[in-house]
Each structure stands twice: as structure tokens, then as C-alpha cells.
């Protein structure tokens, strides 16, 4: 009986072990199939043509610079908007709010994380875009700015939850020591708690950037989809086009294996690599911080 159970264990143990490794397999598979479909773009389209400033596939222009800059513009703008609200809310929840208020506010912010981006895009079209058009007196409300506002809403829950976790891991003795030295609660937050949680807060910001960069539907629906170089001062208040929106809106209409198809996959490779860099950096930053705090506390 006992032996039989041990044998059964052997099977389930190896199944668990193999499944444990599967994440590596999936990442490799994703990279492989992106490269398989996207790398041929380099032979059909010279690099200089890919990294040029005109995206107009119907006439054979496959310059992805406007798309990259469009993504960057919206990501930077949304991060600048989300940062004060995300970090501010995290500090309020972790340091100031009484427990009962925290128990009400946290689920509300989790609700925002659960709202599908297509729903936010829908609200963007119907509410935000007309509002900004009238308020800012611009020809169309479908602009980079409207997209940035939606992206800020999308990345705020990520920033709040990661930053709040980081603040919660700051040992209470730090706060007590600071207060005992006569600092006010505000000075303690500003000069002790926040600096101690610095790396965690940085991780929060990077993950927020990652979310903004990869977001597709909301951005596609509200940014007007004009693949122009956003280099003017007022570009933020004009239509743009991101990398994600380009893939989503054009992939459905291209023949598989065509030059257009390959370049869209090439954009996918670019997005994959960008998210790889952002996420690995974010996780390295937080592991390093954890090691340091373990050393300090031991």
C-alpha cells in the first residue's frame, strides 16, 4: 500500500516539476513565433525603411518611428499624470488613512483594475473626448492627451498597490524612531518612510509604465489613429498612433506572410523586447532592495 502511494507520488511529482518549468517554455515559444513571423520583415524591408518617419502601408511605406514616438509620448504623459495620484493615494492609504477607510478605498481601486480597457475606451469616446474638445477648444477630442488620461486610469491601480506594499514593508521602528526624535508625521513620511520605500515605489512606477506601453484597446479607440511624427509642441493635443493600436487595427486586414504582416510582427517583437527590459529591470530593482533590507535587518 505504502509502496504504491510512493509510486503515485513519483508520477505527480514529475508532473508538478515539469509544469513548474512550463513558464520558461511559454516565454521561449512566444519569442520564437514572434521572430519566426517578424524577422523576415528585415529581408523584405531594409532597416533604414523600417526606422523612417512615414507609416503608409498602402503605398509601401513602413516607417515605424511615428508609432514608436506615439507610444512614447502617450506613455510619458500618462505616467506624469498617474504618478502624483498613484503615489499620493498609496501614501494616504498606507500612512494616514484609518483602517476602516482603507478597507473601503482599497476595493474601490481594485474595481478600477478590473474594468476592461475596452470599457474605458468606450467611456473615452463618449465622455472624455467630447469634453476635452469643448474644454480645450480643439478640432477633435480623439488625441494623445485623451489617451494619456485613460492610460493613467489604467496604470493607477498597479502603481497604488505596488507602492502601498512597498510602504507597508518599511519597518514600523523607522517611523517610531523618527517621531521620537521630534519629527512630525508629515516629516516622517517625507524624510524617512518614502526614502526607505524608494526602490519599491520605483518598481511601482516602472510596472505602471509597462502597463501604459502595452495597453491596446483604450488607446486605439481614443487617440485618433493618425500615424504622424508627434514632434510639435501641441502634438499632445493632436491625434497620434501607437505601436499597439497599429497592430490591433491592421493585423485583421493583411494577408499572412505579406510584407505588411511581417512588419506588424516586427513591431510586436519591438514591444516584446521593451516590456522585457522594463519588467526585468523592475524585478532586479526590487530584489536588490529586498536583499539590502534583509542585510540591514539581520
Amino acid at each position: 500500500m505504502r509502496k504504491q502511494e510512493k509510486k503515485g507520488d513519483l508520477v505527480i511529482n514529475s508532473v508538478i516539476r515539469i509544469t513548474g518549468y512550463s513558464s520558461i517554455l511559454f516565454v521561449v515559444l512566444i519569442l520564437f513565433f514572434l521572430l519566426r513571423e517578424g524577422l523576415p520583415a528585415l529581408s523584405s524591408t531594409p532597416l533604414s525603411a523600417i526606422f523612417s518617419t512615414r507609416w503608409y502601408p498602402i503605398e509601401g511605406y513602413y516607417g515605424i518611428l511615428p508609432l514608436i514616438l506615439g507610444s512614447l509620448l502617450i506613455t510619458i504623459a500618462s505616467t506624469l499624470i498617474a504618478l502624483p495620484f498613484g503615489i499620493g493615494t498609496a501614501v494616504f492609504l498606507s500612512e494616514i488613512a484609518p483602517p476602516w477607510l482603507r478597507d473601503i478605498l482599497k476595493p474601490i481601486i481594485e474595481i478600477l483594475a478590473g474594468i476592461p480597457s475596452v470599457v474605458l475606451g468606450f467611456i473615452g469616446i463618449l465622455v472624455f473626448a467630447p469634453f476635452f474638445r469643448n474644454f480645450l477648444d480643439i478640432p477633435t477630442g480623439l488625441t494623445a492627451f485623451t489617451g494619456a488620461i485613460l492610460l493613467a486610469l489604467i496604470s493607477i491601480p498597479t502603481i497604488v498597490s505596488v507602492a502601498e506594499d512597498a510602504l507597508n514593508t518599511v519597518p514600523n521602528s523607522y517611523r517610531q524612531a523618527s517621531l521620537a526624535l521630534g519629527a512630525t508625521q508629515w516629516q516622517t513620511i517625507w524624510d524617512v518612510t518614502l526614502p526607505a520605500a524608494k526602490t519599491g515605489v520605483l518598481t511601482a512606477v516602472m510596472l505602471g509604465i509597462g502597463r501604459s506601453l502595452g495597453e491596446t484597446m483604450a488607446v486605439m479607440m481614443v487617440t485618433g489613429n493618425a500615424p504622424v511624427m508627434p514632434l510639435q509642441l501641441n502634438s499632445l493635443f493632436r491625434p497620434v498612433r501607437t505601436m499597439t493600436a497599429t497592430i490591433a487595427s491592421e493585423m485583421g486586414e493583411v494577408a499572412s506572410g505579406s510584407q505588411h504582416y511581417q512588419v506588424l510582427f516586427f513591431i510586436g517583437i519591438t514591444l516584446f523586447l521593451l516590456s522585457l527590459v522594463i519588467n526585468i529591470t523592475a524585478s532586479l530593482v526590487s530584489t536588490k532592495a529586498r536583499q539590502r533590507s534583509e542585510r540591514l535587518l539581520s
Binding site: F26, I111, I115, V118, G214, L264, G268
Partner: protein, 288 residues
Amino acid sequence: MMKATGLNRAKIAQTVGFNLLRLVTVITVIPIIGLVAYIVISGAPAISWEFISSAPSNGMREGGILPAIVGTLYLTLGTAIFSVPIGVLAGIYLAEYAEENILTRIIRIAIINLAGIPSVVYGLFGLGLFVLFLKLGTSILAASLTLSIMTLPVIISTTEEALRSVPNSFRVVSTSLGATRWQTVRRITLPQALPGIITGIILGLERAAGETAPILFTGATFFLPQLPQSPLDATMALPYHIFVISTQIPGMPIQIQYGTVLVLLVFVLGMNLIATLIRSRARAKRQW
């Protein structure tokens, strides 16, 4: 005297700072409540039995959204079939089996990456692997597989976290009574961690149910006169349907749009609510 002004200044700074943080939090939270309330109020008049039980007609401008609702149910179920067993087992591996070595670090980096890959890139991957290479076509199966891989990191991480929160003494006692590692997992740690794991599964599936980009080229279709008959059929889905009726169809009645958005929101936030309830009930019942 100097000291007193300094103290006063610090106190004023604190009052100003705290109120600023309160304001920032209010500005963050109010739009969320407003958004949900707005959708509920605008969408409620469109909801009727006919709306959720009949197919669209007259080029989507009349009728209901039944095929989209059923499609989203199929996709969510299909995603669960693949992602739950793999995700839970992989979570068990990380929490109970893995040693802290280079391989485990690589696995963790891989999971972090899976969590960060943009949803539209999952769509490309699904198109390349499932639709074209494995020749599944644009189908419920291809879309479910794509969504499964996207959902995995959520399920793996929450499973691992739930198992790790079970006190180590449980394992020690079980092992000392002669149980093998798997027996300990199955009889002791897994049941203890179950509410946490279920919460993670629901939250992962919730995200899959609301996604549009990964199913754009792998399984979603504009319009289907009848319900899908097999896993190899393409399907309508609520998120994609919202995209279609709000951007692709001119003269679309606004009522139907709000109604569809409300149905998706109820579906998704309903899952969210269930997950929250399971979590808080388990916390209240927990004896450790």
C-alpha cells in the same frame, strides 16, 4: 521663539500635506465611483430579457447580444480548462518543491515577463502558433489557448502566495507523521490555501473575460447568425462586440451600446465581487 516658529511651520506643512494627500486620493477614487455609476445609470434602461436572450438584428442596430454573452462564457470556460491546472500545479511547484537556485530564478523571471507582455502581443503569438502553425483557425480553441497563457502568471503567483501563507508548522507536523511531500500538499497545505487559490483563479479569469486584443485575430468575429457549434468555430464576445458597436457601425443606437457595456461590467465586476467575498470569508474563518 525661533524653535516655536519652526515647530509651527512643520505643523502647517503637515496640515497642508495631509490635506493634499486627501485631495489626491479623493480625485483618484471619485472618478471610479462616477464611472461605474454612470455606466449603470445609462445602461440599465437597455437591459431586458429580450436584450440578453436574443441575437442582434438589422446590422446590430436592434435585438440583443446573446451570442456575445455566450461567446464570452465559452472563452472564459475554455481559458479556465487550460490555465487552472497548469497555473495551480506550477504554483505548487514554486511554493512546495522548488529550491532557491538559478533555475527557479529563471522561472520567476519568465513569469514576470509573461505578466508584462502586452495583450496585443499575445494576440500576435496566438495567431502565429495556434491559428496558423497548429492550423486551429480563428476559433474558440485558439483564443482560449492564447488567453490561457496570458492568465497563467496571475494564477501561478496567487497560488504560490496562498500556499506560502500556510504556516510551516503544518508541513513539519504532516511530514513527521510520515506523509510524503505530495500527501502533505494534497491533504494539508492545498486545502488550507484553497480560498486564496480560488480567488486568484477568478481574478485571472476576470481579466481574460474582459480582454479584447488577444482575441482580435485568434477567435473573435464581427457577427455570427447562430451560436458557435464547436470549439473550432469563431465566436462573438462581449469586449470585441463593444469595440465593434462603438467604433465600426455608424448610427449605432447609444442605448444598445451602454447596455452591452453594462452587461460586460456586471459580468466582470461580479467575478471580482465573488473573489473578494471568498477571500474575506476565508480570512475570517482562518485559525492561524
